[in-house]
Symmetry: D3
Subunit: 151 residues, 6 copies
């Protein structure tokens, strides 16, 4: 088995490398990811009473996610700079968690699952930042890719 | 109950705001966080055989984490720019997960738990990126603050 | 008259330079600035009906302003990197304009009027961006410093 | 009337969103914008005597404008990252103002008026920064799009 | 002789400008560059004994080079933002120097020699940073383009 | 001999690390560096005739150097973010080279030689970029620290 065919970011000696996408075709690609910030039910109650009506907490997290998705190549060293067509971010507030779902689309030579995961991660970190004064027990969980489409 | 005393990033109307740290004292502060990339046992076996001897996967993730910690204020909108004294990142490879632990220290007017969480998140995303060609089932989990010290 | 004592960013020959702030004292400093996006009254009506109730337009502009203020030294070549204590951004919606007011504070060796002006400028550009599909006549106006305080 | 067809950056509920440009055609697009820094006539006289012969003030402002145009997507949250073909920046010095004109061109799926406005705004801020030691009365004015072309 | 046909970044008056690449064809382009950090033979001996077996010094330099290549347009004011297909970085350790070779490829309207030179320069600076505690005599030398290909 | 006391950026196992500067004293520190772009004498002649009178080439290089010095911590992974007091950049044009000298000062817990070297490197790259259309033989050489002061 050829190691480099498995770990695309490693060459035959195990050294890190950027994949050459030069001969791949630019195609419409979409990736979706999700994750959640698990917190105390009292934190959700406080959010519903004081923060969610105004809407700022989730809007700030959405903007942070969109900005981070556009800069994924600066954060993840071996990622390519891709021209993102759109980023969508949605939240659902459950009894003991705020769930984040992001969808990123591009017309490029390689996929955008890292961009979708980065959007979810940074949205979760931003929610954590805004709630950390009221809840010291929060955990960011379940960050995963839920769908990858090549049209 | 005064909402703004609870959600420090929200004013009395629920609108987002940056906390004014102008009258706080600069102190040595340390924060530690952890998280993990859960993956297939076969992925760990492949990492141990091909990627870990050379060491690049974990070194790339460590560098990404350090770089991200220094730019936390660009990623999380309401965070302050803090002069980071040090970032330490450690990994432990378990049977079905790569665990990440980060410790960030500063001498500043506010704490660095967001910097530690950002370091862990970006290390986890970088590991995910380097393993995604061999494992489509990975999940980033358990990102939490484990310690916060003010000296 | 010594030219360099007038244009602080120019040396005696007229060449651009960064001012050396090394021997100045770190002090609490605040700067306030304002500006506005002048638009059609119909645009204000549409904003009031559809965009302002949800609040996203102004929250997005506020976040953009805070983020830009923190990066003023990357935008304005001869500015120093300053540790910003707080950025406050407020909007008022008039009959034919959205007004922006920003206040930036620091504890540093030099003032933050460029940070306040940058916050106002980027807030105005972000409002422009979000309204440009409905109004082709907008003008950004009256960007000025309104107050500068050294405590 | 469908609100989302009006405010392209807002969905039907009034929430902010990034426009999906995935199915639009990449075309040559040019946008021109202008603005000015209004100042005391004495400031213009001083600029003409000491700063303009060397030329640095306007060159620094031009470079700041070009650099900012390339990073518009980092400053304006809902803007796309576009491959800019060229940025041109010109200045004219009037009796009580320095005027800035910028032209930005791209071959992309969406237009570059925000890039042209950002170039003008940052050029104006940079001029303000370099003259603020001699003139406390400056105002940045009249920032507007003057032309938008799709070839 | 027309000056602007010689110095492509200067207009007929000698003023700096960004070249308009709008009407050029996107093509596969590759550029290679090299350079070296000359140091004491004892530094090389120490590197071979303590640093090179673990590999981190060269991996950190490689990651820094790849990250810098992707941001060349932020560092070099008149460079275009190009979609980089791949960056390869290799090192060879000689008796009194560490040599760096970088190859950058794109499919774009203009070449990537500045990206290759930036990758080499930042790799060399990173090696310098990691060895500066043991060797105060290092010099970065011989940074040049070795090949430029248009397919 | 303890390796970690030699390579300050490596721990006892040879792994890369950021040095903890938390218990060091903030002091005024200055570092100076130099380097040069060696080119054909004809290139210098052309620069003197067409580019240097207007001055833009060297001003653009100076601005690029100042901007890069402020972002050294983003380029060199293990560098700390330091509050730079001033950056000075000077050029001298010789018969077959453009020489660059940079001086960077800070009041911080660690020195700024990497900032001075980064300023010189990016000034040299910017000059290279602006002359590359007329000279394919340029080499960037002799980048070294010339002085390091702790007051």
């Amino acid at each position: 088995m050829n190691p480099s065919s498995e770990f695309s970011h490693l060459d035959a000696s195990g050294a890190a490398r950027m994949v050459d996408v030069g001969h791949k075709l630019a195609q419409r690609r979409v990736a979706r990811a999700e994750g959640r910030v698990r917190c105390q039910p009292e934190t959700i109650t406080a959010l519903r009473e004081r923060a969610l009506p105004k809407g700022d907490v989730l809007t700030v997290a959405k903007i942070a996610a969109i900005q981070a998705a556009k800069r994924t190549d600066e954060l993840i060293p071996l990622c390519h700079s891709l021209p993102i067509d759109a980023v969508e971010v949605e939240f659902s507030v459950e009894d003991d968690a705020v769930c984040v779902r992001a969808s990123v689309s591009t017309t490029a030579k390689t996929g955008v699952e890292m961009e979708a995961l980065t959007a979810v991660s940074v949205a979760a970190l931003t929610i954590y930042d805004m709630c950390k004064a009221v809840d010291k027990t929060m955990v960011i969980e379940g960050i995963r890719v839920t769908e990858k489409i090549k049209e």
